[in-house]
């Protein structure tokens, strides 16, 4: 079923802040096997000019995707989440995410398309810190695959 085009441009309220901690960053860096000291050693991060350890570039996805979930699960939109796959992902950074950040995400539906029975939805997540400064923007393309013919 084609999704309602009137949702394009809809912006959802900012999420409650996510507090970024050193140990969560360490856990993520270890999970991707990345030994860059800037992720685990505050002194090494400071040497690079960062006030505390920074997160790997894709770390923020866990936060923006959770925020996008509020869009995806919006009952009014009616997306069949059980058939959703991740199509594209893009980030644009003003600065890296770092330990101590309290990040809030504002999600906007940028586009809705129907292609060969698949519903394609583009969500933009603007991530700001506690001071209201922009940290990163995440663009997520989700594809809800057409249901098989019964």
């Amino acid at each position: 079923m084609a999704l309602d085009q009137s949702f394009v441009g809809r912006t959802y309220p900012p999420t409650a802040p996510y507090e970024v901690g050193r140990e969560k960053i360490r856990e993520f860096a270890e999970a991707v096997g990345d030994a860059n000291p800037a992720y685990v050693d505050p002194a090494a991060a400071r040497e690079l000019g960062h006030p505390d350890v920074i997160a790997p570039p894709t770390f923020v996805f866990a936060i923006t995707f959770k925020a996008a979930g509020e869009v995806v699960h919006d009952p009014e939109l009616g997306l069949d989440y059980s058939r959703v796959v991740h199509g594209d992902q893009k980030f644009a950074y003003t600065r890296p995410v770092r330990s101590g950040d309290r990040l809030s995400v504002t999600s906007t539906i940028e586009g809705i398309k129907s292609l060969a029975g698949n519903d394609i939805i583009d969500v933009r997540g603007e991530v700001h810190d506690e001071a209201g400064e922009h940290v990163v923007t995440a663009w997520t393309k989700l594809v809800s695959r057409a249901a098989e013919e019964a």
């Binding site: 690079l48 866990a62 991740h86 199509g87 992902q89 950074y93």
Partner: protein, 142 residues
């Protein structure tokens, strides 16, 4: 920004050191925990097959995280990455054996941009298939 790579030293076609990243079922369980993505297609073979996949597949975001390591290891300071985008074209299939799968990542400078920035194009392969498309990073050099 504390990368040591100089814009002047980089040309279109400059290759970054390529790397291979192993991925096993244990890797995926660890990534699921760290990322909070517990979709069973990444750890439950029965479920993966039921939804039409050949086997358990890696998280696309795991592959995305590995691929950019070629750039962050080159730049030294991960903050040099100012833009990064990919398209998930094929899954990385991870069999339940001792070896798992491997993600082979290569990268080269594709364009020199303004303000000492370069565009790096990445290629990520697994089992002979391109697993990421349109995989590009914009990197701030000095």
């Amino acid at each position: 920004m504390a990368t040591t790579i100089k814009y002047a030293d980089v040309e279109i076609g400059t290759e970054l050191p390529a790397q291979n990243f192993p991925v096993t079922r244990a890797t995926l369980v660890q990534y699921a925990g760290a990322s909070g993505d517990f979709n069973p297609i990444h750890w439950n073979e029965k479920f993966a097959v039921e939804v039409g996949l050949p086997d358990v597949i890696a998280h696309g975001m795991f592959t995305m995280a590995e691929a950019i390591r070629v750039v962050t290891d080159w730049a030294g300071d991960p903050a040099a990455v100012v833009e990064y985008g990919v398209r998930f074209t094929k899954p990385v299939v991870v069999p339940n054996d001792d070896k798992g799968a491997e993600i082979e990542v290569s990268a080269k400078v594709a364009a020199k941009l303004d303000d000492n920035r370069v565009r790096v194009d990445l290629t990520a392969m697994s089992a002979g298939q391109k697993v990421l498309g349109m995989s590009r990073a914009v990197v701030q050099l000095v």
